[in-house]
């Protein structure tokens, strides 16, 4: 029986894997992929509640907004990563600590 709980568990799994990527990866682009996974987990939850939880089409609209925000975030993050690469010659985010005293 596929119902709300299974979709929520899939969302939790996606979120956990994305969080794992964000906190363990050292490459900036890989961290960005983790963020995309987290946003997808949120979207799965929205659509699952739209289907099972009486949220109806508001869930769809919010999922659309999340997708738009993910696109904007990816563009800006990649611009920042390219700048870091041009200035420091690396995209290892552990080495981007020029602001540290």
């Amino acid at each position: 029986m596929v119902d709300l709980n299974s979709y929520l568990v899939i969302g939790a799994l996606l979120f956990s894997l994305g969080l794992f990527g964000v906190i363990t990866r050292r490459n900036g682009v890989a961290v960005l992929m983790g963020v995309e996974l987290i946003l997808n987990a949120a979207n799965v939850n929205f659509i699952a509640f739209a289907r099972f939880g009486g949220m109806d089409f508001s869930g769809h609209v919010f999922a659309l907004f999340v997708i738009v925000m993910a696109a904007a975030e990816a563009a800006v993050a990649l611009a920042i990563i390219l700048n870091i690469f041009n200035n420091l010659g690396t995209i290892n985010i552990d080495e981007a600590d020029q602001l540290k005293q």
Partner: protein
């Protein structure tokens, strides 16, 4: 695979299949418009952008596209605890269930909601996109 693979290109390909799978889930959840949007924007836009980023931030001579991870043990333990907590919470919580009927015209309903009930967030999202595009173009420009 997205977070475990050593090779960054493999990670991107795994992300592609993950996004396709999520789009399939949307189809099962009666959200066909969201599924199509997911494929168009994520697979067609964001993933291409990410692969561009990978290509641009590695020198051509550097064939080693791999990269390392740090502290996988500690991170894995923390994430596992979070996942188990979330799962037990999900299975225990008394969710509100509504019996929905399968919608006939999703696009019309979404458009109606976007243009009437959620007009202000819609406009704010468009302004956000414009600002993000301008910011990205400004940031990635070569300094004169």
């Amino acid at each position: 695979m997205v977070v475990f693979s050593k090779n960054l290109i493999y990670s991107a390909m795994a992300l592609l299949f993950t996004l396709m799978g999520v789009a399939g889930l949307y189809v099962f959840l009666w959200a066909d418009f969201i599924a199509v949007t997911q494929i168009l924007i994520y697979v067609g836009g964001i993933l291409v952008l990410i692969i561009f980023g990978i290509m641009l931030t590695h020198r051509i001579t550097n064939v080693r596209l791999s990269h390392s991870s740090i502290q996988q043990g500690v991170g894995g333990a923390i994430v596992l605890v979070i996942f188990l907590g979330l799962t037990s919470m999900i299975l225990k919580a008394p969710w509100y269930r509504a019996t929905a009927v399968e919608p006939q015209e999703t696009v019309r309903q979404i458009g109606r909601l976007l243009m009437i009930d959620y007009l202000l967030p819609f406009e704010v999202a468009s302004v956000l996109l414009l600002a993000a595009l301008m910011g990205a173009a400004l940031l990635s420009r070569k300094v004169d």
